[in-house]
């Protein structure tokens, strides 16, 4: 039972990190990108490749994985977001990010192989550590650190305040002389680096697996919708709730119905409180 809880918390932390990535991209562009999970997938795969195949030292590999994530984030903005937002059709960004995510997943599958491959140890530790094993606490620590860093960034730095201004009202921010296009690209780079870091840290839990992206996109989104869109604390709580619930359900019912239960949680929350636990009420349509 305790093992199930810890595993659930660790998986939930990864979902929370994906939800945070969603949040950063959403704050400046109002776009929920389908590529969110794929950023972390790339972080995991490239991290494993850098360390195992190329033999890079771990800190360099970490920076490399975050760099890959950042580049992919920038590419997402460049290819799938910029032109589509300029045309301002409501649904098109969903299609363009979905297309990009599909291409990246297939390319990763062709290059890396469709089998999950093991992720190397990051910190020298005995395998007998049990529940204190790094594969459990690394994602949890990273998710909490990310959320705290984001809060600090939003509250203490000028650029963070620009992000907040854009998320409140992008049009007014532009009128105030904020280069909204550049800030948006920057948010995608930051989100990419965050996703890469999360994927790298959770690599030992998830393995370096090409199909991780879609699962993570879905579950990160569920964590986000449960916690409330735009709220970082909500993302943490939502991720933890989702992870623990599915782990406990797996413990009692069996692993076959994991997806069903997580979606059930989403539906219940959306029916009871459509804005999520920590979210603000949505704007009137007219």
């Amino acid at each position: 039972m305790f093992v199930a809880l810890i595993t659930g918390l660790a998986t939930g932390a990864l979902y929370a990190a994906a939800a945070l990535t969603y949040n950063v991209m959403f704050s400046t562009s109002k776009v929920l990108s389908v590529t969110t999970g794929h950023i972390s997938m790339l972080g995991g795969i490239f991290g494993a490749w850098f360390i195992s195949t190329l033999g890079w030292p771990i800190p360099v590999a970490l920076v490399g994985a975050m760099g890959i994530g950042a580049v992919f984030g920038l590419l997402t903005d460049f290819i799938a977001i910029r032109r589509v937002l300029a045309r301002s059709d409501e649904h098109l960004w969903l299609l363009s990010t979905l297309a990009l995510a599909t291409m990246v997943q297939q390319a990763a599958g062709l290059w890396w192989g469709t089998e999950p491959k093991p992720f190397p140890r990051l910190i020298p530790q005995d395998f007998s550590a049990g529940l204190g094993d790094q594969k459990y606490w690394l994602p949890i620590v990273i998710a909490i650190l990310l959320a705290m860093a984001l809060e600090l960034f939003y509250r203490r730095t000028l650029y963070g305040k620009l992000f907040v201004a854009m998320s409140e009202d992008a049009f007014a921010a532009r009128a105030r002389g904020i280069p909204t296009g550049r800030i948006r690209s920057m948010s995608y780079v930051i989100a990419g680096a965050m996703g890469g870091l999360a994927g790298f840290a959770a690599g030992q839990l998830t393995f370096a697996y090409f199909a991780l992206g879609l699962t993570l996109t879905l579950n990160g989104f569920i964590a986000l919708a449960v916690g409330g869109l735009g709220s970082n604390a909500g993302a943490l709580v939502g991720g933890a709730a989702l992870g623990i619930l599915s782990a406990v359900a797996t413990y009692f019912v069996g692993g076959e119905y994991q997806q069903t239960i997580s979606v059930g949680l989403l539906m219940v929350v959306l029916l009871v409180k459509p804005a999520g636990l920590f979210g603000s009420q949505s704007v009137r349509p007219v």
């Binding site: 409501e90 363009s96 979905l98 997806q259």
Partner: protein, 334 residues
């Protein structure tokens, strides 16, 4: 008897399709044609949801799977007559569409897409979990149709007939009040509501209809596959249906039909594309979204407009001189 040009071309295409078994050559091409028709049964219904009412459902493969398993279990395990089993698959999937649509159609765009994606994953999970019913990972063998349709040709003709019927149904929906209302819902739900379109009911109705066609398509698909496992219904297949519609053009019927034919046939004919698979679909989708968001159908329309001389634009002024002269004379006389 005078027939308009459009009816003649429709009749010619229909005749060519019915005669396909004689000019297709080998059985594999016939099988491919039947597969395209089975896909079209689903895509035609989905087109009303995605193309007309603008609800981006990427998880219709879940409904397809339910239809296939329903047919396989009823006709295979329990020996129900295939025609009855097809109808049952359609009815069951319409019910599933209703249950899925009731909560999820109230959600905004991205939420809805994610809900349908989750639905597809849930169906896969349940088919794997309920091993006694669905055979689990091992799968199920699917029986063929009843005697007049049990040959490859008969199967093809039956599927073709259903596909034509679905096309006719969706065409009827699309070109009348309903279709206009759905397009209004797609372009601006608020405006549609303001002019009296029952937004939620309209969306739910077409979604349930698309569920029905997905169920029927599932039964046909299962017969063509002749053996189904959960791996037959990967998420990529759902993406494929979706891409066919977007590439063909939203708010058309012919566009998605051409999209279905080309996208099904192309990977079979060109081997390297089959290996790339999803990458190719993603690339196509990205190109279409970035370059022609209205779809390939729109490109053809533009080309036709460009190269065909427009009728009804020359306004030759022919003054009625006699009448004018009379009027002037009358004026002088007074």
């Amino acid at each position: 008897m005078h027939l308009p040009k459009k009816s003649i071309s429709i009749l010619v295409v229909l005749a060519a399709l019915i005669a396909l078994p004689w000019w297709a050559g080998d059985l594999y091409k016939l099988h491919l044609a039947a597969l395209i028709c089975a896909y079209w049964v689903l895509i035609g219904g989905l087109n009303l949801v995605v193309g007309y009412s603008g609800q981006l459902s990427i998880g219709h493969v879940g409904l397809l799977a339910i239809g296939s398993y329903c047919f396989a279990i009823l006709a295979g395990t329990h020996g129900v007559h295939p025609a009855l089993a097809i109808a049952a698959s359609g009815a069951l999937c319409a019910l599933c569409g209703l249950l899925l649509g009731l909560p999820s159609l109230r959600l905004p765009g991205f939420y809805f897409a994610m809900a349908t994606l989750a639905f597809a994953l849930i169906v896969t999970e349940i088919t794997l979990a309920q091993g006694t019913l669905t055979g689990g990972g091992v799968g199920l063998a699917v029986p063929g149709f009843a005697p007049p349709f049990d040959t490859p040709r008969g199967t093809y003709w039956l599927i073709l007939a259903i596909a034509v019927l679905v096309t006719w149904l969706t065409w009827n929906v699309a070109r009348h009040t309903w279709g206009r209302g759905l397009v209004a819902v797609r372009d601006s739900a608020v405006t549609a509501q303001a002019v009296g379109v029952p937004v939620f009911r309209a969306k739910l109705t077409v979604f349930v209809f698309s569920g029905f066609t997905a169920g029927v398509a599932g039964a046909l698909f299962a017969v063509l596959q002749s053996y189904i496992t959960p791996d037959t219904f990967v998420f990529d297949l759902g993406l494929f249906f979706f891409v066919c519609i977007i590439i063909g053009g939203r708010g058309h019927i012919l566009g998605p039909a051409i999209g279905t034919i080309v996208l099904t046939a192309l990977p079979e004919m060109v081997a390297p594309l089959a290996k790339l698979g999803n990458f190719f679909y993603g690339l196509l989708l990205l190109a279409v979204v970035l370059l022609v968001p209205e779809g390939i159908g729109r490109v053809f329309e533009l080309l036709i407009e460009r190269f065909r001389p427009r009728r009804g634009e020359s306004h030759v002024v022919k003054p009625d001189l006699d009448r004018l002269a009379k009027a002037i004379e009358q004026g002088r006389a007074q």
